[in-house]
Subunit: 138 residues, 2 copies
Amino acid sequence: MDKEKIERYRKLGLKMTPQRLAILEYLEGNTSHPSAEDIFRHVEEKFPSMSFATVYNTLEALKEKGLIIELNIEPGKKRFDPNIEPHHHMICEKCHRIFDVFEDFSVDLPPKYAQKFKVKRSQVVFYGLCSRCAEESK
Amino acid sequence: MDKEKIERYRKLGLKMTPQRLAILEYLEGNTSHPSAEDIFRHVEEKFPSMSFATVYNTLEALKEKGLIIELNIEPGKKRFDPNIEPHHHMICEKCHRIFDVFEDFSVDLPPKYAQKFKVKRSQVVFYGLCSRCAEESK
DNA sequence: GTGTTTGCAAAGAATTTGCAACGAA
DNA sequence: TTCGTTGCAAATTCTTTGCAAACAC
């Protein structure tokens, strides 16, 4: 990661330890929506002494700074998305992979509901079969 | 619960134990999207010897029969929705309550995505503030 | 009577916490 | 030097499992 980018993180109040750098590098551009364990398994290779606590600590810090989004999509575990642009997801009910959808659907609550709830953002989740799984089940 | 309804559950292959009845009665028409613990706490009053295992076992059975839907909305815990009609949710980011939205938004994937993913159903989640919390933070 | 369900306790998975040692700034 | 971060281990929270006794049908 280049110095400029590191400096930007630092300015946000994040101490840039080597472990954090490795986590950030793993997340950068990652579209696999990894779990804490996925991240740990990967960064562990570079830092065998890594602790799960460090992974969670870093993810929490990144979440607070608004640099990643926590996804509650899979029962029992969190997943993390480094893409903070508003976007939607397609979830394959067979392989459980999550795919991004960059499209503006402009879903608006009808007045009946909007009066009682102030919407900040909305998210559409599509459930179904990815092409790979659809192919396999033919 | 009336005999007719009980008979309907029985026909689905569910043995209707008193515990299951109590859980079903608690869920019927319940719009609070309760967690396993919420359900346990309530049914426990009637059956002090109740076990968490029974709650989970019943919820799993109901889910398999398509009588309830499991919601993965809150990190670390499942919530259950006895309303199986397609509907959407508004989630208050302050009090974490979940509200139902019965409205057809007809969100469709553009061809670019639809070619690679076969959508079975979609769900919209609105994040924001409920009126009670919006009022309080004024 | 048969086979499922219950209750209990123990195991398991994911996450959080306390704290001394460490290290980025 | 200072204060936040790391690593470790223990604790917590939520869920699942194994098994004998109980019970629905």
